[in-house]
């Protein structure tokens, strides 16, 4: 296939297809993932080509989906389960946190749990309640889980391959409002490590660190700031557990200013962890406190208010101004 421009959702579809094709132990499970191809069509056509035994439509029971995936993994399978929307993962949260995350350690390493849990997350698509949340910090806080989120089609393709090949459970957050964004995917490339951050745009005055849906907003903010003569570096974190603090540190030692941007509530979130660690690591390099831009300590608002809630260009640029004003 080699290099091809494709939408992020299509890249995940291709990645799942490759995985199903190369490893007979890979299974796709979830609600509506078969004939419909998922509500976002991410699994479109997979059941047709790989059969109902490999691409499994499940009962509408999230705990059941994850709990049986654990059992299948114990039998030697590599299930990739789809949770239909972010807010629907909570019925499965118990299985993920009390069982999936801890079983490898409890068995003294004798068993592995190679389960991938795909969760379309985040807002910006005008959806109803429980369809727009960003619960990544709740999973990153749990030892035993790995948590990642791609921001573009190429990462989506490769990170999914790597998540499926990982012997650890991986929570794979898919930025649903970027599903239709197209970019180049080179399926012959050699991808970097799954948990390594990448510099999405180089700059020297300030670092914007983001992941998933907010990387695009930060790139736009950096372009806008360029017009005002500011050189902004954008770091795509890609992984929330583990977080590649080394890359953040390298960037901050260069720019001396850091703003972390995510859709999730700021309070006790990924940004808070990065601010604390980077303050520890880069105390003498920083010329301003680490600032955070994100959601408020409020339920995700109704769709007509989500543009106020979600970090947009102006809120990011305002934080850039505040940081550089120190």
């Amino acid at each position: 296939m080699a290099a091809e421009k494709m939408a992020l959702a299509k890249a995940i579809n291709e990645s799942l297809r490759t995985a199903l094709d190369t490893d007979p132990k890979v299974l796709i499970m979830g609600e509506d993932v078969g004939k419909l191809g998922g509500v976002f069509r991410v699994t479109d056509g997979l059941q047709k080509d790989f059969g109902e035994d490999r691409v499994i439509d499940t009962p509408l029971a999230e705990s059941g989906i994850v709990g049986t995936a654990i059992g299948l993994a114990l039998r030697g399978y590599r299930p990739v389960v789809e949770i239909q929307f972010d807010g629907f993962v909570f019925p499965a949260y118990d299985q993920i946190v009390t069982q999936l995350a801890k079983m490898h350690a409890r068995a003294l390493g004798k068993i592995k749990l190679p389960v991938v849990i795909r969760i379309p997350y985040g807002g910006g698509i005008g959806a109803v309640e429980h369809h727009s949340e960003s619960p990544e910090a709740l999973f990153a806080h749990v030892a035993g889980l790995k948590v990642v989120s791609p921001s573009n089609a190429s990462d989506a393709y490769w990170m999914m391959q790597q998540a499926i090949q990982s012997d650890d459970p991986v929570i794979f957050f898919e930025p649903k409002r970027r599903y239709w964004d197209k970019s180049e995917v080179n399926t012959d490339a050699i991808p970097g490590p799954l948990h390594k951050a990448v510099v999405a745009r180089e700059g020297s005055d300030l670092t914007l660190a983001a992941y998933g849906p907010m990387v695009k907003v930060c790139l736009e903010a950096a372009a806008a700031a360029q017009e005002e003569g500011r050189s902004i570096e954008v770091l795509d974190l890609r992984s929330m557990s583990p977080i590649d603090f080394d890359s953040v540190q390298t960037s901050v030692e260069k720019t001396r200013h850091l703003v972390v941007v995510h859709e999730a509530p700021v309070f006790l979130g990924t940004g808070a962890e990065i601010a604390a660690r980077i303050t520890e690591r880069c105390f003498y390099h920083l010329e301003a406190p680490v600032l955070r831009v994100g959601g408020y300590h409020a339920p995700y608002p109704p769709a007509r208010l989500e543009e106020e809630y979600l970090p947009g260009l102006d809120r990011v640029l305002d934080a850039v101004d505040r940081s550089l004003a120190y």
Binding site: A61, S63, T68, I70, H104, I111, A143
Partner: protein, 415 residues
Amino acid sequence: MTVESTAARKPRRSAGTTAAKGGASTAGSKTAASRTAAGKGTGAAGKKAPGTPGADPELVQLLTPEGERVADATYDPYVADITPEELRGLYRDMVLSRRFDAEATSLQRQGELGLWASMLGQEAAQIGSGRATRDDDYVFPTYREHGVAWCRGVDPTNLLGMFRGVNNGGWDPNGNNFHLYTIVIGSQTLHATGYAMGIAKDGADSAVIAYFGDGASSQGDVAESFTFSAVYNAPVVFFCQNNQWAISEPTEKQTRVPLYQRAQGYGFPGVRVDGNDVLACLAVTKWALERARRGEGPTLVEAYTYRMGAHTTSDDPTKYRADEERESWEAKDPILRLRAYLEASNHADEGFFAELEAESETLGKRVREVVRAMPDPDHLAIFENVYADGHALVDEERAQFAAYQASFVDEGEGK
């Protein structure tokens, strides 16, 4: 390790840390109780199809509480070829697992274990069902299946690590196809179902058995496992030990219908078996496992039994149940009833019982010695096996912790 440090490590449903007043009982300490409190079953069933949904709630019973063998046309074939030696084996399993259980209760009282969940009274349900499994079957226990672990060949002392606080599981589940104990109520029924789905995909003829209690029957995960197993026709046997009490809550607080009847709503058979009758438990579980192997899907077996002791050593059953109830169940003791049968049928002599008593003593001694000799885990064990493929933060924190520990050594203060 101190007992204080592990006192909080207990099943989710255990209440408080107050030492129980009752519940500790040792093997063979009970005398033959009143024979007037007979079991409920008549053993006269024979016409109904196995596991007929909505059938008469009568117990499947092959041995009366008095130890008399009764006929059951449906389930007799599953124990028809049992030899006297195998019957003695079932007796031995029950006596030794009871002895192990009593030893663990004593060790908790002596401060050697932080907690213990006794299986006293449930020996027949566990040994009967456990001996019905094949080596290639897979068992998903809750946290009280010490007798099933015994049947699977798990060294019983392995079960004590988590209760002593030296690990959170401690055995290789694939070593004996016996999964780790599961503390969160009912979670393992879904793992069992998924594993069974995998067996079906593999085209193998193994089966899975999932254990849970009457309290767990209220959990959503158990309901979801019923749904998934039925929809995918998974080869799994759900073995519910209805021991009448979920800590202080009686079965009436869990259900308004007999538990085995729940299966009907999911489209698979449910059977209630006398859980204190090892022969009946063996026969019914064999029947259910064979159904699963033939591709006929799941079965719910409700073993109607009684938890003679406390929920755990932190519990105090004298606060919520009457002595008379316990006494009525003592009359149905699974070990006494098989002994009566063995003696009446001349399948075992005094020499066998004496030899078993000696073996029981040896087991008790070994359990005590092994537990007391269990080393505390290495400090760095905190960071072991958190991830299979490693994790940068764990690596960083391990290094920091190791350096911190080493700083004490450098100062001559020791670890």
